[in-house]
Every structure is written in C-alpha cells, then in structure tokens.
C-alpha cells in the first residue's frame, strides 16, 4: 500500500499548543471523533468544523501537543478535517498518538517559518517533501523511520498490530 499525497489549505497556530487547547478535558466524557471535532481548538478557531475543509493542513510552532496523553487530541484534529500536521517540533506522546491513529505528522521547522496561512500546500508523507503550491517553493521535512511509515501505510497501529498478531498465530 502506498501513502497518498495530501493537499490542502494551511491553518497556522503558534508554539506550545497544548492538548487542553486542542480539546479541553470538559469534553472528554465522550471519545467519538465527530463530537470531539466540534470542540477542537475552539479557543483559537471557534466552530472549526464549519471552517476547515477535509484535507486542510495544520501548521504549528514548536512542541505541538504538549501536556496530556489524551488520544482525543489527534482524533479531534483528524475528525475536524486535517489531513496532516506540520510543526517545528512535537511533544512525544502526541506524536506517537497521531501516528498510531494514522494521522501523518511532519517535523519541518523551515516550512513552518515560511509557509503562510491560507496557502495551498502538498505533502508527501512517504518522503517528507512539502510543496508550497501558492508560493512555488519546496521544503524537506524529516522523513519517517521505516517502521512508522509502515504503521501509517497500514492506517494506524491497530491494523498494523493486527497483522502481526495474525502472523504469530
């Protein structure tokens, strides 16, 4: 299976965006993505589900997703429509969680500094190459280690592990 290229409009947020800002704990009495999406990033982008189009890409500063281990955070972003998140750096639990649910997350500091809100960009998760279509410029994000790419290709950690468990039996 190959990983498709992702193309969408850029939404930008700042540094140290924590998991409470991504999805506040008062909404964690439920864990379905559709519901969580309606409150995703609501302090920064109110009514996000009416604004973000499926495929849009979130571009963030350093340490994105710091704080809690709640997988509800990448899930909310995924269901809000984001196809990919690019950041200067990611907090580690968020990073793992995103890969595990099949949401590509790319580390690309130069791209974060230069790409502007509203631009159309195209991302190749297999290579880490980011094309800013609007401004006709290309960036190299950090490529995934082989096994993480395998997880993403499987559609997340559960289908990936399911295959491995099957083989063992």
């Amino acid at each position: 299976m190959s990983l498709d290229k992702l193309k969408g409009k850029v939404w930008k947020v700042g540094a140290d965006i924590d998991t409470d800002v991504i999805i506040a704990a008062r909404y964690l009495n439920r864990s379905d993505g559709e519901y969580l999406a309606t409150h995703c990033l609501e302090v920064l982008i109110p009514e996000i589900t009416t604004k973000v189009k499926p495929g849009d890409i979130l571009v963030a500063g350093k340490n994105f997703g710091c704080g809690s281990s709640r997988e509800h955070a990448p899930l909310a972003l995924q269901y809000a429509g984001f196809s990919c998140i690019i950041a200067e750096s990611f907090a580690r639990i968020f990073y793992r969680n995103a890969i595990n649910i099949g949401l590509p997350v790319l580390v690309a500091p130069e791209a974060v500094r230069e790409i502007k809100e509203g631009s159309i960009i195209e991302v190749d998760p297999s290579t880490g190459i980011i094309d800013d279509v609007t401004n006709n410029k290309s960036y190299q994000g950090e490529a995934f280690p082989a096994f993480m790419l395998e997880i993403l290709k499987s559609g997340g950690a559960i289908p990936y592990v399911k295959e491995k468990v099957k083989k063992r039996v």
Binding site: A25, H72, I101
Partner: protein, 422 residues
C-alpha cells in the same frame, strides 16, 4: 561506556545486554494502566486487534479517578465501560470508587509499581513512578491497547539529561515542587523533550518519597519521556512494606553517557509560583503576593500525598480561610483520606472553612469539583496551568507547593508561608 538507570531497565526488559540512546527496542511491560477517560478508547481499540484476552490479568490496571464519582451520564458510561471490561477480563486490579483514589497516588501506595519496572499508562503523569526507580511513561489509548494485547511496546531509548540538585534549601518551605518548577522554569516546557530526566544530588537524597514523586510526576511538563530517581534506603523502606512481588534495583554507571548535565543549587531557592499559562512561567513567591485569588486546590497526583496534606494542615490549623476564597482539599487515596480523618487533618480543614473531597482528579483538569468562572484565579498544587485548564478559557491557574497554597487560602491572595503567624 556504561548505561543510565533508564537504559538498564529498558535493556533488561528488551532482553538485551546493552542499549544506547536513540535505539528502538521492544520492551516487556510490568504494568499497563488506564483510567475512566483513556480506558474506554483503549478498550475500543483493544477489541479491534482480534485477541480475546489481555496478556496478563494481573498486570493490566484500571482505575476510575478522573470524573468519579461520575459527574454526568456520559462519564458514568465511561466508568461502566472500564468496569465491564475489567469484569469480563477478570482483572485483578480494578477498583471501584471508594476503594482506590488518584491512580498515581494509589499505585505506589499499594505496591503495584516497583523499582526496576517498565510501566505504561494512558495518562501523561504515569512518569510519577520514576520516583521509585521505575521506568514509567505516559502513552495514548492505542499504545495502551497494544500493551494490553501483547504485553510489550516499542520504545526509542531516550537520551538522559542529568539534573544535580545541590545544597540544602535555607527556606524551610521549599520542597520537591519548587525544585521541579525551578527546573522547568530554567529549561522550558520542551527542555527535556523525548528525554529521560534523571534527578540526583544531595537535595534529592534529602527529600521524602512523597516529594520525589512530585518531581518525577512533573517530568512531563518539561516534555520528558520519563523522570527517574535512583533507589536508596528511603525507597526500599517505602517499597518493602507494600510490594507483593520481587523488584530489581538499577543504578547508573559512573561512566554512563548523558546528553546534558544541569546543576541547580537549592541553597537560596524560594518557593516557586508558575504563572499562567505555562508551568515554565515561574517566579519566586515574593514576586507574586499581590495576585488576588478566588480558589485554592490542594491535592492531585502531583501534591495529594500525606506530606502535602500535613504541610497544608499545619499552616491552616486554627486559622480561617479568607472569606472570598473557596478551598478544596483532596486526599489522593482512600487510605490517605482515612488517615486524614483519624489524625485530625480533616477537622482542621473543615473548621477553617475548606471543602474536603473524596479522591478525584476533578478540578486539576477542569473536569468537575472546582471549575473556575470567567476571570477567576486559582492557586493549585496541581501540574498544569494551560489556558482553560481548570475552567473558563479566561480563568487563571497559578501552580505552587502545598505551603504556598495553604498560606494563599488564608490571605485570599498568593502568599508566602512565612507570612502565616504561628
């Protein structure tokens, strides 16, 4: 080149003689933990994997603590989900409300986590158990599901940042909370991102186990994968009376490799207050004393242990809470709650005008039991002061140690414990 404690534990659990930072290993898990918020999602993912049973019914621990006793119907369903799963899987360590407490207070107290363990928990503050010399780290629900199914998980062996806490604090109110806030203030909320934080030095040796767990608990607030403190006599004394299985003690080799070594001299350290909206936004308490407050929370997996309650009670004893302030005291476990009743702490708090709650994570994460209105400010002994953490996005949380919180409760503003008359 030798290994750090973290590297030794991971190597032993991966069946390897040696590991080095950056290496990817598959490690066997001693404890796999989830709560009423992260558990339901983990169970949903677990059921997709296609295995019938969890890898070991004695190693999967489910604790309802975040929104319990249930704050609403949806939360009640989440608690029921983990209870049903625990019964179906015949889990040894599921506890109903009233018989457990805040997970990271409860597991060490009951001897469920021990030195040398590898522990994953679907809660970011799982790093607490490093205070007992375990490798423990927070994961998401999917990783937890994989852990429940297979009993192992992949880890990137983290670089270790060594932090040496030197000296003896002259200020008697300075404790573990202040050491860790001072460190986060110095290195930032991503200062130890992906790394192990190893705390050492004279000041750490002098700390109680309770205070050590406060420090490792907040390793995540510097972005660390885990926090860890070497086992000493105090640790062994703590563990011996609780453990129901053998444990293994590891120590860092003299020639272990560290990515950085940081020294913090605590001699002149003052109680720290982290201003909104990041735990790294620290100041000495003396610079904070004009901040008026509406609420004080004393508790949480960070500072809800016996020493914390005792420090607060000793300051509040015979005093009254400021008329404009709500004070919520939350013992971390049922055992602590009972002891607080028996030793008169609950009476001290109630007579002063505080609320004493059953163990819950409630207010710390803005769940319930102390939500802030727009514009309100709280001093809390908790771990995070992000935007909207404890309620309205325009409310504010100031993080501090239990003594500062107790003094602030009396004065209705952030106060230094030294201001409280004997």
């Amino acid at each position: 080149m030798g290994m750090t404690i973290t590297e030794k534990i991971l190597a032993a659990h991966a069946g390897l003689d040696k590991v080095t930072a950056g290496e990817l290993v598959n490690a066997k898990l001693d404890v796999v933990l989830a709560n009423d918020v992260t558990g339901p999602l983990a169970i949903k993912e677990f059921e997709k994997i296609g295995v019938e049973k969890v890898f070991d019914r004695e190693k999967v621990v489910l604790i309802p603590d975040h929104f319990v006793p249930a704050k609403d119907i949806a939360s009640a369903q989440q608690s029921l989900d983990i209870k049903n799963f625990a019964r179906k899987q015949n889990l040894k360590h599921y506890y109903e409300v009233g018989r457990c407490g805040i997970e990271h207070c409860f597991l060490p107290e009951q001897g469920l986590v021990l030195p040398g363990d590898v522990v994953i928990g679907a809660d970011s503050h799982t790093c607490t158990y490093g205070g007992l010399g375990a490798f423990s780290t927070g994961v998401g629900s999917t990783d937890l599901a994989v852990g429940m199914a297979t009993g192992e998980l992949w880890f990137r062996v983290p670089e270790t940042m060594k932090v040496v806490f030197k000296g003896k604090a002259r200020n008697p109110w300075v404790t573990g909370k202040d050491y860790i806030l001072a460190l986060i203030g110095k290195i930032g909320v991503d200062g130890a991102r992906y790394k192990a934080l190893e705390f050492t030095g004279e000041a750490i040796s002098n700390l109680s186990i309770d205070a050590r767990m406060t420090m490792t608990n907040m390793a995540i607030e510097a972005g660390a994968k885990n926090g860890i403190i070497a086992v000493d006599k105090k640790t062994v004394d703590y563990v011996r009376k609780r453990a129901q299985r053998p444990w293994q003690v590891y120590e860092s080799d003299a020639d272990a490799e560290y990515s950085e070594v940081i020294e913090i001299d605590v001699t002149n350290l003052q109680p720290q207050v982290a201003f909104p909206h990041l735990p790294s936004n620290t100041k000495d308490v003396q610079e904070a004393i004009d901040v008026k407050i509406d609420q004080v929370v004393i508790g949480s997996c960070t500072n809800g242990r016996w020493e914390d309650l005792e420090i607060a009670a000793n300051l509040i004893k015979g005093k009254k809470v400021h008329p404009d302030v709500r004070v919520i005291v939350i013992p971390g476990t049922q055992e602590l709650y009972l002891r607080a009743v028996q030793e008169g702490l609950v009476q001290i708090f109630v007579e002063a005008g505080a609320v004493v709650s059953t163990p819950t994570c409630g207010p710390c994460l803005g769940g319930y039991m102390g939500i802030l209105a727009k514009g309100e400010r709280a001093v809390a002994t908790t771990n995070r002061n992000f935007v909207g953490r404890m309620g309205h996005p325009e409310s504010e949380v100031y993080l501090a140690n239990p003594a500062v919180a107790a003094a602030s409760a009396i004065f209705g503003r952030i106060a230094s414990p030294e201001e409280v008359s004997k």
